[in-house]
């Protein structure tokens, strides 16, 4: 009952008028950024991070809860109506979702996505609320060696799983790690790789890296192909934005199955919800093939419902992993971790002891955020789609403006603006080469943690590296890592085969 009491306190905080306002504002802004072609939920959090600096931590995180889910739903809107997913997690939704829209069922597709996202997110958040305290207790058994193992897990799994080739994933990882070691090393006070630039002493801000790679990288990418004719067509989406009983009967089991696929992946650091969404999609497709009237390929409602629920379930439990272990399992969660650090908070087992009020308010506002999103999006999704009608030059010029504004206002340094440029260019090069961006972000954020824990382990053991694998927990973590690599390799091959042409 402890959980319920804490949660009630959290709701009391979240329901104060000002905090409710922040959730709504966050959901609106997050959806707006998510809808924009090429920009996803990770970008929504990064781009809006500076906006929250003037709030108190609780208000800021409550707003983040709105942005987080808002960005995810925005991804789905552009995936369904424009066939351009904002994030890799929305790719699976485009297959049947866009076909539904093409056959004149765009509003129902949007409603399916919104309700699916709600179902997945709700179940995941309930799970997080009830399991977080015991997860946090479990995490207190983690020492430096175990945390190093976790970080290594995140590094290897993200680069191996997200990229289509291991080398490309590692290339991305190594760039991120290099960025992470710039600045003053905390243990000895040595200044590293600053090359005499005083701005580098504090390290390179993760906001600069994220905004540069994701948002400005997208603008550069667009500029590089700007001479190509526009082939995108936006589908009109007027009509009834709710589901008939027959549609509900088809969608509901798919939502639940999708959620079941999504839940476990939130705590495995394999780079977000791309895998569970594809697994959920593949599963629905297998079920569909056995039925008398196969619908896949013509806009099957289940083919959209399952990945949507899976995606949001993963995001929900990813939040749990972040809060209790301090471990980001996706790029979006990685930026949330950066946000915590900006406010001087360290997610992890101690968060529930030291800042339990904030932690529970955040969990409560995840619930509120979900409800707000459902209310905002079920009727207004077609309005959001209007954002896609902004002429591309204006859209991308606007994004550019927000990028430089965000970066400059958070640091007040022109050096950061130049760095932003460099990362924008890098983002474009990486995009052209199919090199994933998520490992960079994970590495920038977890790099310092990995180094600190490694140093601690080696200091305690007086230089004996066998201390890294001395405890059962770290051995288990390395074993799970090996297993994850094998499973994901097999799954990727399967997923590749199961996409409808």
């Amino acid at each position: 009952m402890d959980v319920l009491a804490s949660l009630a306190d959290g709701f009391a905080t979240a329901f104060s008028p000002i905090n409710l306002l922040w959730v709504v504002v966050g959901a609106l802004l997050g959806t707006a950024v998510g809808v924009l072609p090429g920009l996803g939920s990770a970008m929504a959090v990064a781009l809006l991070l500076p906006v929250t600096y003037s709030l108190d931590p609780t208000g800021a995180f409550i707003m983040f809860a709105g942005i987080y889910y808002g960005g995810l739903f925005g991804d789905s809107i552009s995936a369904i109506l424009l066939n351009t997913p904002g994030n890799s997690s929305a790719i699976a939704s485009t297959f049947e979702g866009h076909k539904m829209a093409l056959t004149g069922r765009a509003p129902q597709a949007l409603a399916t996505a919104a309700l699916g996202a709600f179902t997945g997110g709700l179940l995941a958040t309930v799970l997080v609320a009830f399991l977080a305290p015991s997860m946090a207790v479990l995490a207190t058994y983690f020492g430096p060696a175990e945390f190093f193992a976790l970080a290594l897990f995140a590094f290897v799994a993200t680069s191996a799983v997200v990229a289509d080739s291991l080398v490309k994933g590692l290339a991305s990882l190594v760039i991120g790690l290099a960025v992470a070691v710039v600045g003053i090393e905390t243990q000895s006070g040595t200044s590293r790789f600053t090359f005499g630039v005083p701005d580098f002493l504090d390290g390179i801000d993760v906001v600069v890296v994220t905004v540069g790679l994701l948002a400005l990288g997208e603008v550069f990418h667009r500029a590089s192909l700007a001479h190509r004719p526009e082939a995108e067509t936006l589908i009109r989406s007027g009509g009834r934005p709710f589901l008939s009983r027959g549609e509900l009967r088809k969608a509901l089991p798919a939502w639940l199955r999708g959620t079941a696929f999504g839940l476990p992946f939130g705590v495995i650091p394999v780079g977000g919800s791309e895998i569970p969404t594809f697994l959920a999609y593949g599963n629905e497709r297998r079920i569909d093939r056995r039925s008398r009237k196969p619908e896949f390929g013509q806009g099957a409602i289940r083919g959209l419902a399952a990945p949507e629920a899976a995606g949001n379930a993963t995001s929900g439990t990813a939040m749990g992993a972040l809060l209790t272990l301090g471990l980001p399992t996706s790029a979006t969660a990685a930026i949330m971790l950066a946000a915590f650090q900006q406010f001087g908070l360290q997610p992890g087992p101690l968060l529930f002891e030291r800042d339990s009020e904030l932690a529970w308010a955040l969990i409560a506002s995840l619930f509120v955020g979900l409800v707000v999103l459902l209310v905002l999006n079920l009727p207004f999704a077609p309005l959001w789609a209007k954002l896609l009608l902004i002429p591309r030059p204006f859209l991308y010029a606007g994004i550019t403006l927000f990028c430089v504004m965000g970066v400059y206002s958070s640091s007040g340094s022109v050096v950061d603006v130049v760095l932003l440029l460099a990362f924008g260019l890098l983002g474009m090069l990486m995009r052209r080469a199919d090199v994933p961006v998520a490992p960079v972000l994970i590495a920038v954020i977890l790099g310092p943690l990995a180094e600190t824990e490694l140093t601690r382990t080696l200091t305690i053991s007086e230089g004996d590296p066998s201390a890294l694998v001395a405890s059962p927990i770290s051995i288990a973590l390395y074993a799970v890592l090996a297993l994850t690599l094998v499973i994901t390799a097999v799954n990727r091959i399967r997923t590749r085969r199961s996409i409808d042409a």
Binding site: S88, G189, A223, S224, A397, T400, V435, T455
Partner: protein, 211 residues
Amino acid sequence: MSATTAGPARRHVDTAALPVALVVLGVAVVLTVGLVTMEVPSTANAPGPRVFPIGITVLAYVVGAVLLVQALLGRTSGPSHPQRPEPTHHQRPEPVEGPPETHDDETGLRRAQAAGVTEPAAAEVEASASREVSWPRVALLLGLLLVFALVLEPLGWLLSATGLFFGVTVALGARPRLRTLGIAIILAAGIQLVFAGLLGLALLTGFIGGL
């Protein structure tokens, strides 16, 4: 990935992967220089501030070298290139509607001839055509942002942001019109009002603020 499986289809350098390989190797070199010139205080305990970066540097050389070799060996041209939705980002290759621009067409044709393939490789040619980069536009955008970074502090947010917005819209293919300039001013001023005024973020007022 060996030469024997490629058969008669010739390889061409993977121009998309090459820059990334060079960036990774560049990172490795910069890390090496930094490691050599690093001044470690004598009070530092073992393992010291060098160990972790050394590991990264070694990894960077290895990954960079492998990527470079892969890029130089190139992608094989042939119809068997597996099509998969790009995993990391956001755009799947868009279907080309209407006549593609002549620039692409020529390049594609040349590539097709160079690769010694004609009909079956059409998809591959199209895929590589969509990878063609309009470098002048990229350079223009880069220049605009550099100028913005230089003039931001002396001119202030309002003027530099207006210029940046206007410049980027034109660079991305909009016609330079007075209306665009108007939108630019409104947007720049709006951001200033909302973020500096309401949320209290620091944006420079520049010399206008001093008037």
